[in-house]
């Protein structure tokens, strides 16, 4: 196996892109008539959360990232839509081998938890998983910043 690995690319787009997508979907949401009823707070919260994640996925990676793909697929499934992603040519690596002594049980346990947290992490190996996690963390923190700014801005003075 070649020891030279290309540097891990975990670039995340600027805040603006996030904000754009998020606000787009937010205003879409808002236009729904049932949205602003004061009773259904939980539903609203869930919708907003879902919207946030979906817009984050769209903004952050599109279909280049596994986690964003998984997120979008999940969201589409909820809406009974089918999302098709362009087939990417998979890099031929020998990472397919699962059975080896590299999986020590402690690490695997943690990896399992990470897989549960990061969307789309079910079938990944640890190295790939960590890459995805890094990108996911970046995007999540970006999303949090955007939302925080929004909330601060919109909060009554």
């Amino acid at each position: 196996m070649a020891s030279a690995n290309k540097p891990i690319n975990t670039d995340v787009p600027e805040k603006d892109v996030f904000a754009l997508h998020f606000l787009q979907s937010l205003s879409n949401l808002r236009r729904q008539n049932t949205f602003n009823s004061p009773e259904k707070t939980n539903d609203r919260v869930k919708k907003i959360k879902k919207v946030a994640y979906v817009s984050m996925a769209r903004a952050a990676g599109g279909t280049n990232r596994l986690w964003s793909r998984a997120l979008l697929r999940r969201a589409a499934k909820e809406n009974n839509k089918v999302v098709r992603f362009p087939r990417r040519k998979k890099r031929v690596t020998c990472l397919r081998r699962r059975r080896s002594n590299r999986r020590d049980p402690v690490e695997e346990e943690e990896a399992e938890r990470l897989r549960n947290l990061v969307p789309g992490g079910g079938g990944m190996e640890i190295s790939k998983l960590m890459e995805e996690t890094a990108h996911y963390i970046k995007c999540l923190s970006m999303q949090v910043k955007v939302m925080q700014c929004l909330v601060d801005g919109l909060a009554p003075k």
Partner: protein
């Protein structure tokens, strides 16, 4: 069955009871400080009433010998972990203990829904290490409980021996064997992510009597998490817990973990990859510099991701509450606050524009363009934007004149609306759409925009 056993045990220790009940250890004081009505409520919920008074005596005896001596050795974690309420007599405390007793037994059998699997499994782990207990088919629950008490006692003495619970000979022997084994630490940190404040090690002894407190805390925490919670505090709590659990895991794992021998040459490459990525993650997650080791790092990462996700949830809750009260005037103010750096002026514009749209109830007409479902709002902006995209400055100046006429907006907002930095590619909208979008906020705008575009 259990009641009978308790009764029998209790009779022999009736004499101890009175003496011990009078002893006021700091733990008891802490228990006493809890709110009584809540205690009673939880007790009634969890344990059938008829068990109470049977078990009361045995509880006292069990706890009298065990915790009184070693509770004093660990008063501080107790103190730190209890938020006191109104004063309560010891009787209430004992009833709680009794309730806990029944509850703990249930936990071993099947974790009840209220406490959740996390605490159940956490508490179950010390029991897993005591296989002889399984032999007690009929009395398994009782045995577990009893052994647990002695376990708790023994652990405090660092495995001094089964001197604490003289219920019957077998049980003490069982409990001593179980007590001498260190708790399987690997299970422990997993099960209570971010939710418990009582770290298992230091509060091991009085764990059982304070189970009720802990349960209540858990329930409260769950409710709190659903409402608005300060995420920073959460992270702090998590970190503390994490540190404790890491200590646990480190101590527990060292003996258990076998050395991993790598055979294939790919192994080293893989490890390199993993360590490289670990470093990357370490940079991302704040406060990871001190932590070394894959497992701990991963723990930290997991907690960070969880906290981020909770933050998103929390903020979305906030947003939903704010969203309903969106007022137009706020948007003008908001646009200035949001991204103070000059690089993000585009976002500023974006924010202000979309909020204007958001606030505008007349704005439903915006969606009249069926071509583009997702980019409806932005498209009106983008039509102008795409035209002016390449040359921002001249158009900026161009629009500023028109903008200055509008008193409702401060100058920045409108031309920022117009100059969206990142246009989508759809330019299918007509100016009409664009103009109608501004009908609500300002009457002057649409006509003017029309003219401009």
């Amino acid at each position: 069955m259990e009641n009978e056993l308790f009764m029998n045990a209790g009779v022999s220790h009736a004499s101890e009871m009175t003496s011990l009940s009078s002893s006021t250890s700091p733990a008891m004081l802490n228990w006493a400080s809890m709110e009584t009505h809540q205690v009673e409520q939880s007790i009634t919920r969890d344990v059938p009433r008829d068990c109470f008074y049977f078990e009361k005596s045995t509880e006292q005896s069990i706890f009298g010998s065990a915790p009184s001596s070693h509770v004093s050795s660990s008063p501080t974690p107790l103190n730190s972990n209890f938020s006191g309420g109104g004063g309560a007599g010891e009787n209430y405390v004992i009833r709680e203990l009794v309730g806990n007793l029944g509850y703990v037994g249930d936990i071993y059998g099947a974790p009840p829904a209220s406490i959740g699997n996390s605490s159940g499994s956490c508490y179950a782990t010390p029991m897993m290490s005591s296989p002889p207990l399984d032999a007690f088919s009929g009395d398994s629950r009782f045995a577990e409980r009893a052994a647990r008490f002695s376990c708790l006692g023994n652990r405090s003495f660092n495995g001094r021996g089964a001197e604490t619970v003289p219920i019957n000979g077998e049980l003490t022997r069982v409990s001593s064997t179980s007590a001498l084994k260190p708790p399987p630490a690997a299970n422990r940190p997993v099960n209570l992510p971010g939710k418990e404040k009582l770290n298992p090690r230091s509060v091991l002894i009085p764990q059982l009597p304070h189970l009720l407190i802990y349960q209540r805390k858990l329930k409260r925490r769950k409710i709190r998490i659903r409402r608005e919670v300060e995420t920073q505090k959460k992270m702090e709590r998590k970190r503390n817990h994490l540190i404790h659990t890491k200590i646990l895991s480190m101590s527990g794992l060292d003996e258990a973990k076998p050395p991993i021998v790598t055979v294939s040459p790919n192994e080293s490459v893989r490890r390199e990859k993993i360590s490289e990525r670990m470093k990357l993650l370490q940079d991302l997650v704040p406060g990871c510099n001190k932590v070394t080791g894959k497992a701990l790092m991963l723990d930290e990462i997991i907690n960070y991701v969880q906290s981020l996700q909770r933050q998103v949830e929390f903020l979305s809750m906030k947003l939903s509450s704010v969203n309903t009260r969106l007022d137009f005037n706020m948007d003008a103010l908001m646009s200035k606050d949001i991204f103070p750096s000059s690089n993000n002026q585009q976002v500023l514009r974006l924010e202000s524009s979309s909020d204007i749209l958001l606030a505008d109830h007349h704005c439903h007409t915006l969606q009249l363009n069926p071509n583009d479902s997702s980019n409806n709002i932005m498209n009106p902006m983008e039509t102008s934007e795409s035209r002016s995209f390449n040359s921002q400055l001249p158009t900026l100046a161009h629009f500023t004149d028109s903008i200055s006429q509008f008193s409702t907006f401060p100058g920045d907002d409108l031309h920022s609306i117009i100059h969206m930095g990142f246009a989508q590619n759809h330019i299918s909208e007509s100016n009409q759409v664009h103009s109608t979008s501004f009908q609500g906020p300002s009457n002057q705008v649409p006509s003017h925009m029309k003219a401009e575009l």
